[in-house]
Amino acid sequence: MSAYTISIVSIIGINVILAVSLNMISGFCGQISLGHGAFFGAGAYAAALAMFATANVPLAVVAGVIAGSLLGIIVGFASLRVRSDFLAVTTIGINFLFVGFVRKQSWLGGEMGISGIPPTGLGAAGNMVMILLMACATVALSLYVSRSWMGFAFRAVGEDEQAATTLGIGAGAYKLAAFGIGTALAGLAGALYTFFTQFITVDAFDFIFSVMLMAMVVIGGIGSTWGVVTAAVGLTLLPEAIRFVNDYRLLVFGGMLVLVIRLAPGGLAGLTRNLFDRVRQA
């Protein structure tokens, strides 16, 4: 495998973890979060610091997961307080605050970021395998949660919080659980990203990246794990596939985003469901 392939596959794995974890928050539980990049970043920075301090990979992973979920649970508490339409803007705010804060912290490398992070010792291919294993585990977890009573309750909370409450479902506890699980996984992705690049700058975790993740969820079909995985792979490969229009990548990306949503607002999952229905009727 070429170094190029290894890096592409690694990035796909990381993006799958991020998109699937965001889907648990926004798809399963209906809590719109546009700041997933912040939790990803918190995990990456925590893992980087842990690597410098201990050079211990499992410890760095744990640090990333804790940092991501800690920030996530704080935002989860915010989601209990604010109206649902304020939550989207609040999470955008968290993302800008994270970036604006890190940029000014010399102990986090400021604008220049952190470079020379100690390697994991697994090599690029070993890192890739680790990332893929984690991505598979994340997908499996997502599929499991969706089938469990928790996924059932998430769907109820996402659809109508008050009605869920009258069935004995504590909406607040479930929202916190969704944020906790989703952002812990984002923190995990952050740690893996740190192992992969050994060099992080805050720009990798900005709002535009969060939007890209939300685009994966929407294009994949909100709430559908497989749809989201497909979209995450597709949207990660797309810029590579359209390298020949290198200079116009964002133009094409923006245009495709608009077109896909305009033509298939239910995402890939909605599209296949429609096809299935049509075949069944015919």
């Binding site: 926004s26 719109i32 915010a78 307080r81 604010v82 109206r83 339409d85 304020f86 989207a88 803007v89 609040t90 955008i92 705010g93 968290i94 800008f96 605050l97 970036v99 604006g100 804060f101 940029r103 000014k104 912290q105 709002f207 535009i208 939007v211 939300m214 685009a215 929407v218 909100i222 200079d247 116009y248 964002l250 133009l251 990306f253 923006g254 245009g255 495709m256 985003l257 608009v258 949503i261 305009r262 607002p265 239910g266």
Partner: protein, 289 residues
């Protein structure tokens, strides 16, 4: 004197934020969509002003071109992008809106270049006045005066004219307005037209302020505008105006006090999050328009 200079900067920026945000808050009030692509409208207004001014040699014609082009663009966004997506979850049109913003931003870069465009002849950008030691630029005065005229005009329009009253009523009480014979579709187009024109004026003035329009012009402003409209209590024009001015001032002074550990552009969101923790329903509460 330094503190007064900061106040001047703060107020003029606040006026710019207000003109930028009004369209956004009205779209939200009407359709519950976070119209992120409003930033593209703002940028289009800035480009149109510069290009038309350079072509005709008249700044006035530049602004005129901007407030003709952008309403058409804004209404087209509604017709082609939002209207077909109204039945879906609100994040669906929002993502489409973000896609459009990315597309437009890159289109500006491709067509007009990475470096952006500047006014060819423009003494206005560099004119300053001195009031007892306080330096005020002509563009800052223009920002404040324009905003004052715009908001006074908007107030008169929504209280004195039939269509304006219908518009305001539709934003706050859509069902009641419809039962009084206000055409909600017409109101939506009007809403996009006026909101876009105001953003274009703000864009043109920012172009004057920097004497430059580059593809990233709308970027940060647009997200700040999202914070502003929430601070102002989504859908409320008065709340948006107050929140804009407060933010302009907080940013101006905040840079001295917290600039060492927080980016200037993040201040708006810090204020937003603090406010939401204290008052989860926003500044203006549930009241709209």
């Amino acid at each position: 004197m330094y503190y007064i200079d900061l106040a001047v900067t703060g107020i003029s920026f606040g006026c710019m934020y207000a003109m930028m945000s009004v369209g956004l808050t009205l779209v939200y009030g009407l359709l519950r969509i976070l119209h992120v692509a409003h930033a593209a409208v703002f940028a289009l207004g800035a480009y149109a002003t510069v290009l038309a001014a350079n072509a005709t040699g008249s700044l006035a014609l530049g602004f005129l071109a901007a407030i003709i082009v952008t309403p058409l663009f804004g209404m087209a966004i509604y017709r082609l992008l939002y209207e077909p997506l109204l039945g879906y979850r609100p994040d669906v049109p929002m993502i489409a809106s973000v896609g459009l913003l990315v597309l437009m931003q890159d289109a500006f870069r491709v067509v007009f270049g990475e470096q952006g465009v500047t006014f060819r002849r423009n003494a206005f950008s560099f004119t300053t006045f001195d009031f007892y030691g306080v330096t005020v630029s002509a563009v800052q005065i223009a920002l404040v005066v324009t905003a004052a005229i715009v908001f006074l005009g908007l107030h008169l329009f929504t209280t004195r004219t039939r269509i304006g009253v219908g518009w305001r009523a539709t934003v706050s009480k859509p069902r009641i307005a419809a039962s009084f014979g206000v055409d909600p579709i017409k109101v939506r187009y009007l809403n996009f037209a006026i909101g876009s024109a105001l953003a274009a004026i703000a864009g043109g003035l920012v172009a004057l302020l920097n004497n430059l329009v580059d593809p990233a012009i709308g970027f940060v402003v647009s997200y700040k505008a999202l914070a502003i409209i929430v601070l102002g209590g989504l859908g409320s024009v008065r709340g948006t105006l107050i929140a804009s001015l407060v933010l302009g001032l907080v940013e101006a002074y905040g840079t001295i006090f917290i600039g060492a550990w927080l980016d200037r552009d993040a201040i708006a969101f810090l204020a937003l999050i603090i406010l939401l923790m204290i008052r989860p329903q926003g500044f203006a509460g549930a009241r709209a328009a």
